[in-house]
């Protein structure tokens, strides 16, 4: 069977000693970052992106993927132990996980989170493998018009998931698209918006923009009100859940996996939404809803499975269509492009070892996380006591090296400072940076496909609605836009994001 031989190829690639090592480094770094509050997975991947360029494409993508799901694990550790979610997707875990820890069941909560995540990771890895082939086949039929419409869906969905005002998110997408166009026009060779600086003729460096908008801006935000982080930590004892715990976690884990997998596939979806959806479902279905918020096992097992499943399946649109579903995937697109790989349906055909290697490495990475993290919890907790002011000079130094190492272009370093400032100001104006980054990545692709589609249709704009796949995609985008503007959904959405903060 094809699937089996593909997976075999993938495991053979991922299990090479070098790739195993990079997978391990990735998940460890990811966990480390997930544990440290204030630095998210997006910022970390942005900062570590340059370092991976020295590696083989497969190894670098395996490592980046490892950071991503490692951060999900790390985030839940701090959420449970000190009620401080290291990642926004584990914010829900903190609700019941911390209560369990206060009741002296921290060990059990951590194991439940880890086991639930591992199960979800296993299932969703297979889902990625199963869906990859048919979706790739579908994507190969896509023309310029379909790609354009698909990217519109992705951009619109990213708006739906941004915090705060929808109009602002739309504006951020437009700004991101415009910034993505900086550089030389591919058709005529005219330099655009370079302000006469020759070093920007190749466009703004993606790494510089990402490091600035996510990394530097996040550091500045943390410096605003410096507070002492008090680590009032519950003692971790009794790691293994009881038989009763196991019995009570099975159903939530299964449901969480299903919810997470489904939401992760949607462009713009992903881990955060999955965790919230799962928590809501568990609370509704529970025979004892009053337990939620007071240390319910289902409140830990469900969302933790869901966020991990969502994190994994969000690779599906990336690997098959080349469309990033969230900012982290946008960074992966950037990584692929710099490695000389054009993301899209052709990756599976032309580079099967890379494609299946990444998929297989996800499962291996998840296994590593379960085996390593439970014994290492003590170490992670110690890291929490590192004061933040020691961290950011280190981060800034690594950012500078990393960005400079990509092209040895000093203007990229100035761009880091500029976008750091811009990103910080936008955050202060309550504008979410994620849609901007997505727009930045998709800007050139969107324009190229728009122009190509218009030329192919001889200037007839109805081509986007007369071609069936394109029309369906645009309808989806329209539906998403209408739904987020509906008053009832709007109110509910604000409520959800309120809870998250």
């Amino acid at each position: 069977m094809d699937l089996v031989s593909n997976l075999a190829l993938g495991f053979a690639t991922a299990a090479s000693p070098a790739n195993l090592l990079f997978c391990l480094i990735g998940v460890l770094l990811g966990t480390l970052i997930g544990v440290l509050p204030g630095i998210g997975a997006t910022a970390t991947i942005a900062m570590l992106l340059p370092i991976t360029f020295q590696l083989e494409p497969v190894s670098s993508l395996i490592m980046l993927a490892g950071i991503y799901y490692g951060a999900q694990y790390g985030g839940s550790t701090t959420a449970i132990l000190i009620n401080m979610p290291g990642e926004s997707s584990s914010a829900v875990t903190a609700i019941d996980g911390y209560q369990m820890a206060r009741k002296g069941r921290a060990g059990a909560a951590l194991s439940i989170a880890a086991l639930g995540s591992f199960f979800a990771g296993t299932v969703s890895t297979f889902l990625v493998a199963i869906f990859a082939i048919p979706l790739t086949a579908l994507a190969l039929q896509f023309g310029a018009a379909e790609y354009f419409s698909l990217m519109i869906v992705g951009l619109v969905s990213s708006i739906a998931l941004a915090h705060g005002s929808i109009v602002k998110a739309l504006a951020m997408v437009s700004l991101g698209l415009l910034l993505g166009l900086v550089g030389t026009d591919i058709y005529t060779g005219t330099p655009r918006f370079t302000l006469g600086i020759r070093e920007y003729a190749d466009g703004l460096n993606f790494v510089a923009v990402a490091v600035g908008v996510f990394g530097v801006a996040e550091i500045l935000r943390n410096l605003e009100g410096e507070k002492t982080r008090s680590v009032l930590m519950a003692k971790v004892s009794g790691l293994w859940p009881t038989r009763d715990d196991f019995r009570r976690m099975v159903a939530p884990v299964l449901r969480g996996t299903a919810i997470g997998s489904a939401l992760g596939i949607l462009p713009g979806g992903g881990a955060i939404l999955a965790a919230f959806a799962s928590y809501t479902v568990e609370k509704r279905m529970s025979a004892t809803p009053q337990e939620f918020g007071k240390g319910a096992i289902a409140g830990v097992a469900g969302p933790e499975s869901a966020n991990n499943a969502g994190a994994q399946t969000s690779f599906i649109p990336l690997l098959t269509l080349g469309i990033p579903a969230n900012p982290v995937m946008a960074l992966m697109v950037g990584a692929m492009i710099i490695q000389g790989i054009v993301p899209g349906p052709n990756v599976a055909v032309e580079q099967p070892a890379l494609f299946w290697g990444i998929i297989a490495s996800m499962w291996i990475g998840n296994l590593m996380l379960v085996v390593l993290n439970l014994p290492l919890i003590g170490l992670w907790v110690k890291l929490l006591t590192i004061p933040y002011y020691v961290l950011f000079p280190i981060i800034m130094a690594f950012c500078s090296i990393g960005v400079y190492s990509v092209n040895s272009n000093v203007y990229d370093l100035y761009a880091v400072a500029f976008f750091g400032l811009a990103g910080y100001l936008l955050v202060k104006l309550r504008c979410e940076p994620a849609p901007l980054l997505l727009g930045f990545v998709l800007g050139p692709l969107l324009e190229e496909n728009l122009r190509r589609a218009m030329i192919l249709s001889r200037g007839d704009p109805t081509t986007f609605v007369t071609r069936p796949i394109s029309a369906i995609l645009l309808l989806i985008a329209l539906a998403v836009l209408v739904v987020v503007f509906l008053p009832s959904v709007k109110a509910k959405r604000e409520e959800v994001f309120q809870e998250e903060d």
């Binding site: 370092i51 020295q54 005002s165 109009v167 602002k168 739309l170 504006a171 437009s174 700004l175 698209l177 415009l178 166009l181 026009d185 058709y187 005529t188 005219t190 655009r192 918006f193 530097v216 550091i219 500045l220 935000r221 410096l223 605003e224 009100g225 410096e226 933040y388 002011y389 020691v390 950011f392 000079p393 280190i394 800034m396 130094a397 950012c399 500078s400 090296i401 960005v403 400079y404 190492s405 000093v410 203007y411 990229d412 370093l413 100035y414 400072a417 750091g420 400032l421 910080y424 202060k428 104006l429 309550r430 504008c431 969107l446 728009l450 122009r451 218009m454 030329i455 001889r458 200037g459």
Partner: protein
């Protein structure tokens, strides 16, 4: 009586988006716009810039109706020390070389926090520099000059 509340944050935000849109629109107007069939380099950005300005106007109008709270504290000291760090690195990495440029960049960034004591900052910057030179320059073999022409005697 309730006075007309203007949300300064959103008003500022709208104004900035309008200004940015105007900037891009003006810049793309100088490029060849082309037609819908054969779009010139300026067509797509011009349309986007108009959309951005329009959204800025919407945000500006909305700001009169809602008040979502003040701006909050601004990390002025952070901006003063964090942002120059990569710029300093960029200006000196070729002249001073990798190691000294990195040392001073880390040192500058270290003082973004009011809690950092001078000695601590120097030790930290030195440690980062030694680590980076060993890992990036020797182990990973990045082609950086460790000491540049400015510090060679």
């Amino acid at each position: 009586m309730k006075s007309l509340a203007v949300d300064t944050t959103n008003a500022l935000c709208g104004a900035i988006f309008i200004a940015l849109g105007a900037f891009f629109a003006y810049q793309s107007f100088e490029l060849e716009l082309g037609t819908a069939l054969r779009m010139g380099p300026g067509y797509f950005p011009f349309v986007l810039a108009l959309i951005l300005m329009l959204l800025g106007i919407v945000i500006l109008i909305q700001s009169v109706r809602t008040d979502s709270g003040p701006l909050g504290p601004i990390a002025l000291r952070g901006m003063l020390f964090i942002l120059p760090a990569p710029i300093f690195f960029g200006l000196t990495v070729r002249g001073l070389g990798f190691a000294p440029a990195l040392f001073f960049s880390a040192l500058i960034a270290a003082f973004a926090s009011t809690r950092m004591r001078p000695l601590m900052g120097i030790i930290l910057a030195a440690a980062v520099t030694v680590f980076s030179v060993v890992v990036f320059s020797y182990a990973l073999g990045l082609p950086f000059e460790r000491f540049g022409p400015w510090v060679r005697f």
